[in-house]
């Protein structure tokens, strides 16, 4: 198969972009200005931005020849926790889950940073450990001082933007560790996590998984005086210059995540290792790469980004609920694949994923503008997913050739 690798590579690199252009043109033809106008464009962008984050994380996972079915339920869990942190006062199930994890994480992070630092100064190992612990504690404690009061007053935007993703990181890392240390199929592990995370989300939400609305003064809704900080509303607003709305804030998160991951994949050793593991795990291991660690980090990132998406969801839909991210994992995977990343691992780019996300986003938008019923949308979606991959793999081309050859032979 390596035979037609050049051709395929070209396809996989450019294919997605062409696809995007095509669908965009179709959009213009079908809906003209309604489609083109800035308002609609920003809508599409704003909407896809949220689901894009798990897709970006998924890209890393799939590049290591893995899969993460739990991103959707991570979004759900995160949205519930986020909403409760914002709206509830005093200790709730949400706080008792998120905060301990958060502090432990802070501690560990601090520990490693400080330890590395001391190592640099070439101190003795024992020393570096001690200083590490000390440093970790200091960081953690300061954080406690900052966060703890918010338990009773309700949490601020910044806090949830840190605490909730950390929760995601943690659960993602859990996925990664089990996969790496247990040497089990990512499919199974994340399938399990998918079920458990949803259950957890429902449990934390209480009453078998009730919805937690988020109220804003500005939106003119209040629940017994309890409201979320206005700043949280900003997350779903649009940046405007001279009164012209230019870019959705969620879009920024999307863009940043893509840029960062792109940098990581292309410039950092870590990125090479991701590709190497996807390409040939055994070789990667024999080359002294710490495969287990890389995997753990990759799944952690996927979890973290999903949780972040959960936060954005809360802001966009002013609620947290246990089925917020249901089936998002499939959309994420679809986007990644349409973006030209191979499920076999080792091949693909995060930019492709971005394009894939946009393709799916515009598709939905156009079909809605066309008032196409949801069932037809489902049918089309399925066809397009398969079609896109067939195109990328240059299958149609091969079939054509085979066909022409047959005709020639007939003569």
């Amino acid at each position: 198969m390596a035979a037609n690798s050049h051709w395929r590579l070209l396809n996989q690199r450019l294919g997605p972009f062409l696809g995007l252009i095509v669908i965009f043109v179709i959009g213009i033809i079908l809906n003209g200005d309604t489609f083109l106008n800035i308002y609609n464009q920003l809508n599409v962008l704003g909407r896809v931005s949220i689901i894009a984050l798990p897709a970006v994380g998924m890209t890393l996972v799939i590049l290591t020849a893995g899969i993460d079915l739990s991103v959707g339920s991570m979004v759900s869990l995160a949205s519930v926790v986020c909403a409760m942190l914002l709206m509830e006062r005093d200790w709730t199930r949400a706080t008792s889950l998120a905060l301990p994890i958060y502090f432990v994480f802070i501690f560990i992070a601090g520990y490693y940073v400080v330890r590395k630092a001391t190592r640099r100064l070439d101190a003795k190992k024992s020393w570096s450990v001690i200083t590490g612990i000390a440093g970790g504690l200091i960081v953690a404690v300061t954080m406690v001082y900052w966060t703890y009061p918010q338990v009773s007053t309700g949490f601020g935007t910044l806090s949830v933007l840190i605490i909730v993703p950390v929760l995601g990181l943690f659960l993602g890392a859990l996925n990664g560790i089990i996969i790496a240390k247990g040497k089990i199929q990512p499919f199974i592990v994340t399938l399990g996590m998918m079920s458990s995370a949803v259950g957890l989300a429902k449990f934390i939400a209480g009453k078998g998984g009730q919805i937690h609305p988020i109220y804003f003064q500005s939106v003119g809704m209040t629940a017994g005086g309890k409201v979320a900080p206005e700043s949280f509303d900003v997350l779903s607003s649009k940046i405007s210059l001279f009164g012209v709305k230019l870019f959705p804030v969620a879009g920024l998160f999307f863009l940043c995540s893509v840029i960062i991951i792109y940098f990581v994949l292309t410039r950092l050793k870590f990125g090479r290792y991701v590709y190497a593991i996807g390409g040939n795990e055994e070789t990667a291991r024999l080359s002294g790469i710490n495969v287990d660690r890389v995997k753990t980090i990759v799944y952690a990132i996927a979890g973290g980004l999903s949780a972040l998406a959960g936060v954005l969801y809360c802001s966009a839909y002013t609620q947290g609920k246990a089925d917020a991210g249901i089936t998002w994992e499939l959309d994420a995977i679809a986007a990644v694949v349409i973006g030209g990343t191979s499920l076999m691992g080792g091949k693909g780019t995060v930019v492709g994923t971005m394009v894939g996300v946009l393709i799916l986003g515009y598709l939905g938008n156009i079909l809605n503008l066309q008032e196409v019923s949801s069932e037809v949308q489902d049918i089309l979606k399925g066809v397009i997913i398969v079609g896109a991959v067939l195109l990328q793999e240059g299958i149609f081309a091969r079939w054509m050739r085979a066909f022409l050859k047959k005709i020639k032979d007939e003569e």
């Binding site: 690798s5 051709w7 050793k269 190497a276 024999l286 002294g288 080792g346």
Partner: protein, 503 residues
């Protein structure tokens, strides 16, 4: 050279889930020497080396380097101790570039974990030049061929500037010219006082490059000899545990009728690159027909084309006993009487999950079908027969195939294809990585088959082999036929300059 040994492995014992494969093996060598490690398939050579390289961690015994005790937890540890290894199987990431593969896990960093690509590529380029491997170091490995990939492996090992360099059958994928380059490099290393452990089944090479030879048999150390003094026969008997008069066997009796006829066979890659071009030749019934050529000459591609092995479009005609055959898929060609024993045993020869028995019957299940059902008893008898005939040593036919050593696996493959009772047997590097004992048996088998009127077409990179067992040798150059030599007229030189690419 009796100064204090650089490396000392004492009383090494190793078992795989209870199956003992190394018994109290001692291994010792000093800086600046080439130690050849020989032994039949499954003797334990690779295992011993993997222990030294930190791949296997659960073993008994001790490793001393310059008298200092070491016990490696992983390959990284071993590297730090100055040990690098070229594995018997290729260990490369197809998607990454040549340079990235060479420095995988050891990338020169700029700052903050960023890779310094210019530097890395420069360094990579220096090494590949040293090996006359002239490809752009930024091309993905996937676009290189087995041979070239093997050279990258070597480059990777060299890039470590190790004190101890282990080469586990590095030459088996290399043509003679490339092997020469390899030897040149080894000699340079020796001058730099590096210790090289060289595993090979090719006597010639061993005598050419090695200072001393350590021989293993069935996991036991048989002895150490100086390559200067020891005799070929002695080595063989040390390895095999028995003597035999004559090594190569050729009693083929080609008949007059043409069995296989290939006319203007051509195939291209999608990018229009010729893999083979207008290949035309005839092979007679019962003939042993050799195909020589450098790496990438298109020999594998030719066999695969005839056998209908992959989807690349192919044109030209293939006739068996004067009849056109449809070579669009193995399913069809096998019915037409063709069999292909591929280059890459693990990759596309065996089903590793399956038992020895099941692997053997896979291509000929209809042989063991009774009333439309598979009959276990027939399977047992049939496979038993061939196990005996090819003297495959396997304790239980129900064992997974991966518990057999290379040589025995190769014999299982032969059995598998003989079960389809083919008219024409295509063999691609059938003796690669196989010990002399097994080789000898295979030569015997081949001539026996040819006497039964089966046509043998054998691709090999070992010219001595081809020269001594083939009735005729076809030489390929860059996908085309450059010469077809009769047994009598054929010689190393003629073949080599027919094979050498046109400047």
């Amino acid at each position: 050279m009796m100064e204090k040994p650089l490396l000392l492995m004492k009383q090494i014992n190793k078992d795989f889930s209870g199956v003992q494969v190394l018994y109290d093996v001692d291994f010792e060598m000093s800086a600046g020497e080439v130690m050849a490690l020989m032994g039949e398939n499954g003797a334990g050579k690779s295992t011993l080396m993997k222990i030294l390289a930190g791949v296997h961690t659960d073993w008994q015994g001790s490793i001393l380097i310059e008298g200092e005790k070491h016990r490696f937890k992983n390959t990284k540890d071993a590297e730090q101790a100055g040990i690098s290894i070229i594995y018997q199987e290729l260990n490369l990431v197809q998607e990454l570039s040549v340079a990235e593969n060479i420095f995988l896990g050891r990338e020169p960093a700029a700052f903050g974990g960023m890779i310094n690509y210019p530097k890395m590529n420069r360094m990579a380029h220096e090494i590949t030049d040293e090996l006359n491997l002239n490809v752009d170091v930024r091309t993905p490995i996937a676009q290189l061929r087995v041979g070239q990939q093997q050279l990258v492996e070597i480059a990777k090992a060299l890039s470590l500037n190790a004190r101890i360099l282990i080469m586990d059958e590095p030459s088996s994928a290399l043509s003679d010219t490339e092997t020469e380059i390899l030897f040149r490099v080894i000699r340079q290393l020796i001058r730099r006082n590096v210790a090289v452990i060289y595993i090979s089944h090719r006597m010639g090479e061993v005598f050419e490059i090695a200072d001393r030879v350590t021989v293993l048999r069935d996991g036991h150390l048989v002895g150490v000899r100086s390559a200067k003094e020891v005799q070929r026969q002695e080595l063989i008997s040390m390895m095999v545990g028995r003597d035999f008069d004559q090594f190569f066997v050729k009693e083929s009796a080609p008949q007059d009728e043409v069995a296989l006829e290939v006319n203007r066979l051509t195939r291209k890659t999608i990018d229009g690159k010729y893999l083979i071009k207008d290949v035309t030749f005839r092979v007679r019934k019962g003939e042993q027909f050799g195909i020589a050529g450098l790496l990438g000459a298109g020999r594998t591609e030719l066999l695969e084309a005839i056998f209908g092995a992959d989807f690349l479009q192919t044109s030209g005609e293939v006739k068996i006993n004067g009849q056109h055959i449809d070579y669009s898929s193995p399913e069809k060609t096998i019915l037409a009487g063709l069999s292909l024993i591929t280059e890459d045993r693990k990759g596309n020869g065996l089903v590793l999950g399956m038992s020895v028995e099941q692997n053997m019957t896979l291509a000929a299940l209809r042989e063991i079908v009774r009333y439309g059902m598979l009959s276990k008893s027939r399977e047992k008898s049939v496979t038993g027969r061939f196990t005996h005939r090819l003297s495959i040593n396997v304790s239980d036919m129900k064992n997974p195939i991966e518990t057999l050593s290379g040589g025995n696996q190769q014999k299982v493959l032969l059995a598998k294809w003989l079960l389809t009772n083919p008219r024409i047997l295509l063999l691609d590097e059938p003796t690669r990585g196989i010990d002399v004992g097994a080789k000898h048996e295979i030569y015997e088998l081949l001539s026996e088959l040819s006497k039964q009127g089966i046509t043998i077409i054998i691709v090999s990179s070992e010219l001595t082999e081809l020269l001594s067992i083939c009735d005729r040798i076809m030489v390929m150059r860059e996908g085309t036929v450059s010469a077809i030599l009769e047994h009598e007229e054929a010689s190393q030189e003629k073949i080599m300059d027919a094979a050498a690419p046109l400047a």
